[in-house]
Amino acid sequence: MSSLKELQDLIHEKYGIDMSELDPSASMREKGLDSLALVEFLFAVEDHFHINLPDVDSNVDTLAELAVVVDRVRAAKAAA
């Protein structure tokens, strides 16, 4: 299970960032998601997947890295 596609759809829907610019390995901060926008985006991710994200490691900078975290939380929730 990878959440990457859904995350890409969500960020496109929420911020109107073009699909072609949603390179999973690109820095989200460099794409214009500053710390405030990122906080808001993570809130939306929690709503979308009905999960609670742990305090996301500040090293998480790309969508691919975020997808790994979301996958882990969803898997843990499914197993619980």
């Binding site: 405030l36 926008a37 808001e40 985006f41």
Partner: protein, 400 residues
């Protein structure tokens, strides 16, 4: 003293966002007050703005930006473009002086209604100085960026403070005005509880606000933002800028008597201070854009304050409250009404005091009861803003 020039106007209002269109609608006596929130137990009316966020923000830029800041960013940007002032200013010499009564009401209401899952950017969205900060970021203003929260006088005070900063040489250009966006159910309920809002029969919301009229019952809330660009007359002349009018004087006083009850001596002190600073006499002033909230007490007090200062010259002063048409913008009221006053001077036309069917004998003065009134001799006009908390602010403009 013609030292402060108004060289730009930026309006985001219920009557549109170009100064001439807004002024034309006001001159026609068009009311923007409409019913809102039919789900509320008591009928409510307000003047709201048809605002297209996408003209000013990408979706990404909207993270944590409340409507009150969005309107401010748009109005300030329109004002700067109107002044043609950007580009050749040292950013450290630009100041932002913004009035705001409440801050991000929609953000706070959404937090309360979130069922406990409060959006994480509620605080930066709500804080009352957010609009000024967003204007500064958009305009790259690196000088003083200040917020004035003085209830209904907020943005008139902001404009006066900006004028002082220009006059003292602290800044070269001041982006001064105000913003308010609190047409959300919780805030409307609070204002209804305060018993200052106009009551109306079904279908009559548009004419519900009747300043100085015998049958007045209060005001309607309005939202919007208005900014002016202030700079020294010398700077405006040097860069060949179009000057709408000169801010010739301002007066600020406090009643220091009661939190919400207005006071004749306090208002008269502000009026006299503005005249003194402008070195003008009451007879020199042709038009007053009144605070005129259409409350039972407030309108009589304002009339008495004008009568006290103008004395036998009161009949020479044409008076109207345009709140009947655009509602009460609270923290943005002073700025919008200052802009309308400036446009009245520029066009030499007097905005109507709409919906006044029969003048209250206790408010007897020279009200502009008709639409489309020309004033070919108009040279000086003033705008009154009198706040809860007792602060009174008067801005006095001279024709360019």
């Amino acid at each position: 003293m013609n030292s402060i020039a108004v060289t730009g106007l930026g309006l985001v209002t219920s009557h549109g966002d170009t100064p001439d269109a807004v002024f034309a609608a006001i001159m026609r006596g068009e009311s923007a007050v409409q019913p809102v929130f039919p789900e509320l137990p008591k009928p409510a009316a307000a003047a709201t703005v048809a605002f297209d966020q996408s003209r000013w923000f990408t979706k990404l830029q909207l993270a944590g930006v409340d409507r009150v800041s969005q309107l401010a960013v748009a109005a300030a940007d329109l004002a700067m473009k109107d002044a043609g002032a950007a580009g050749d200013i040292d950013p450290e010499r630009i100041g932002v002086y913004a009035g705001c009564g409440m801050g991000g009401a929609a953000a706070l209401e959404a937090a309360y209604r979130s069922g406990g899952r409060v959006p994480p950017l509620t605080i930066p969205a709500f804080m009352p100085n957010a609009p000024a900060a967003h204007v500064a970021m958009r305009q790259k203003a690196l000088g003083p960026v200040l917020t004035y929260s003085v209830a209904c006088a907020s943005s008139a005070v902001a404009i006066a403070e900006a004028a002082k900063a220009v006059q003292s040489g602290e800044v070269d250009v001041a982006i001064a005005g105000g913003t308010e966006a609190l047409i959300v159910p919780g805030v409307v309920l609070a204002w209804q509880a305060m018993q200052t809002l106009a009551s109306f029969n079904p279908g009559e919301a548009a004419s519900s606000v009747r300043p100085f009229s015998l049958d007045r019952t209060g005001f309607a809330l309005g939202e919007g933002s208005a900014f002016v660009i202030l700079e020294s007359a010398e700077r405006a002349r040097r860069r060949n800028a179009r000057v709408y009018a000169y801010l010739a004087g301002w007066g600020i006083s406090c009643d220091a008597t009661h939190l919400t009850k207005p006071d004749v001596p306090g208002q008269a002190r502000a009026l006299r201070a503005a005249l003194r600073r402008a070195d003008l006499k009451p007879r020199d002033v042709g038009y007053c854009n009144a605070h005129g909230t259409a409350t039972r007490i407030g309108d009589v007090i304002e009339r008495d304050a004008l009568a006290e200062v103008w004395g036998n010259d009161l009949d020479h002063l044409s008076v109207s409250s345009t709140k009947a048409l655009h509602g009460h913008l609270l923290g943005a009221a002073g700025a919008l009404e200052a802009a309308i006053t400036v446009l009245a001077l520029q066009h030499r036309q007097l905005p109507p005091n709409a919906n006044c069917t029969e003048i209250d004998p206790a408010c007897r003065m020279n009200l502009v009861t008709r639409t489309g009134v020309a004033a070919p001799q108009l040279e000086v006009a003033l705008s009154n803003s009198f706040a809860f908390g007792g602060t009174n602010a008067v801005l006095l403009f001279k024709r360019a």
